[in-house]
């Protein structure tokens, strides 16, 4: 073992961290997300003294499956784009007669395929392994899926815009962005179990209405139609904002000549 060589390699990693603040952010980001999510889950469990609480545990599985729908939709867009960056194919696409709307639409379709595969696999495993039948959500599954998918697409477009602007330095955002939202969209616990200050924030995002709706359907078989309306309305807003951001960043990268860096990265 040569200490000089080890120190040189350590130096190389420190240089890498210093040149990529995103890597430093990650060091704090994931532990904070874990802490907040499990802290709120703990509060949720502590607050529930209901004798039927055992059945509530199934909420976690339902929340996890629906969360994954949103996550896969976001990944369908962001990872499809990254695939073109990783394989240095992006310039071939951008100098072909491909409109940005056509490119994004293709990534949406990939997102749907990813969702279908994920949903089928998770549904089988949760049924056979944990006696959790996702189809107890009945026809509500369809609007739940659709709304989560739409929000996933919005997040995917935002991730793609950030990677376009900052290149592969922002690659980790493709994985992290959905988890910015996980603590505040009530995936595993009710909004009323969240800290008071975070509740108004929770209601700003469509998934909150869907996860609250899921628990309502699982508990009482009823769904608050207003929730679906709010979720759909907010999704239209977020999709429009994300689409605008993507086009704006694409035009900015063309103006600044940043697109060509993807040929050499």
């Amino acid at each position: 073992m040569n200490f000089r060589i080890i120190s040189a390699l350590v130096m190389r990693y420190l240089f890498l961290y210093a040149r990529s603040p995103m890597r430093l952010v990650e060091l704090a980001f994931w532990p904070v997300v874990d802490l907040v999510v499990w802290g709120n889950v703990t509060v949720f469990i502590q607050k529930n003294t209901n004798p039927e609480f055992g059945s509530y545990v199934l909420f976690f599985l339902g929340g996890m499956i629906l969360w994954d729908i949103m996550f896969r939709a976001q990944q369908g867009v962001a990872i499809s784009f990254l695939e073109d960056v990783w394989t240095r194919n992006l310039l071939n696409i951008f100098v072909a007669p491909v409109r940005s709307s056509e490119y994004i639409s293709a990534t949406f379709i990939v997102g749907i395929l990813r969702i279908l595969i994920t949903a089928v696999v998770l549904s089988f495993i949760s049924w056979f392994g944990y006696a959790f039948n996702v189809f107890q959500l009945s026809w509500w599954l369809i609007p739940f899926f659709l709304n989560l998918m739409l929000f996933g697409w919005s997040l995917g477009m935002i991730s793609t815009a950030l990677i376009l602007r900052w290149g592969l330095a922002a690659e980790s955002l493709a994985w992290a962005i959905p988890f910015f939202f996980q603590p505040v969209v009530a995936v595993f616990y009710r909004v009323e179990d969240m800290p008071a200050w975070s509740r108004p924030i929770a209601w700003c995002f469509p998934p909150t209405y869907i996860f609250e709706g899921m628990r309502s359907v699982m508990k009482s078989g009823t769904m608050n139609w207003d929730y679906l309306g709010y979720a759909a309305g907010l999704n239209v807003l977020y999709l429009a904002l994300a689409g605008w951001l993507f086009v704006w960043v694409l035009n900015l990268t063309r103006k600044r000549g940043l697109l060509t860096k993807f040929a050499t990265q």
Binding site: R88, F94, V95, V98, G257, T264
Partner: protein
């Protein structure tokens, strides 16, 4: 032939194209015309402005000022229409390495709306002598094979305008020679207008009808390769290249070495 008497169809035209990066002019009032069936070489040392010019022409970078027209249409407003009739190949881009060659080519054939794509791909692969690579993994190809697969992609839509960015970079002389011959053959048979960049002066002499030398974003010399050599005190185009790269000029004043 002066511009006034030149009746050939202009395929690509840049007028006073300027591109600044943080106040530095990578292209400075760059103007040229590329005619149907002509091969125009864009030459210059690293940092001369070739890549910036190519990126502007491909719509990847917007010029700070100036005009760019292709097929008589402003490029920015008609990008999709123009790209449908054009194509591009570069030594610095790649087709996805995790797909088979035929899969990559089929994707681009669909993007360009090529009729009977499988037949077209087979014909082009035969032309470039790479039919045997059809089922190979793209990422496992040698540099020469990869370049020829990229050229198949570039020829897929029978482009009227072809932009080739250092197509023979990192190729051995045998493969480079084959690539040059194929480019010339396709260009003659289909009357394609080609914009060609290369650091290989043999490429330029063999392939290009006319060349433009850039230095610090400006045109310093323009003409046929033989006329430029004849007008300079150099023995060959490579010496001309070195002189321009070092001195920034070939002649007393930038002017056309020969009317084309």
């Amino acid at each position: 032939m002066s511009d006034a008497t030149d009746t050939r169809e202009v395929i690509l035209e840049a007028i006073d194209l300027t591109r600044e990066f943080d106040g530095v002019k990578a292209l400075d009032r760059f103007s040229f015309k590329l005619h149907r069936g002509e091969v125009l070489g864009l030459l210059g040392a690293n940092g001369a402005g070739k890549t910036t010019a190519m990126n502007c022409l491909l719509g990847l970078t917007l010029p700070t000022s100036g005009e760019l027209n292709a097929f008589g249409m402003p490029l920015q407003a008609n990008r999709i229409k123009i790209l449908q009739r054009a194509n591009f190949s570069s030594a610095y881009t790649a087709l996805p390495g995790n797909l088979l060659v035929w899969q990559n080519l089929l994707v681009f054939a669909h993007i360009y709306g090529v009729p009977n794509p499988k037949k077209k791909i087979a014909e082009l692969m035969e032309l470039l002598e790479i039919s045997h690579l059809n089922k190979s993994v793209t990422g496992q190809l040698s540099a020469g094979e990869s370049t020829r697969v990229n050229l198949v992609k570039a020829f897929l839509n029978d482009p009227e305008l072809l932009m080739l960015d250092e197509p023979t970079a990192s190729l051995d002389p045998d493969i480079a020679d084959k690539v040059r011959k194929v480019v010339r053959k396709v260009q003659r048979e289909r009357n394609v207008a080609i914009l060609y960049t290369s650091h290989n002066m043999r490429d330029i002499e063999e392939v290009c009808d006319r060349v433009i030398f850039l230095h610090k974003g400006k045109i310093v010399c323009e003409g046929t390769p033989s006329d430029i050599v004849a007008q300079s005190s150099s023995d060959n185009l490579e010496d001309v290249f070195i002189k321009i790269a070092r001195d920034g000029e070939l002649l007393d004043e930038p002017k056309k070495a020969s009317a084309v």
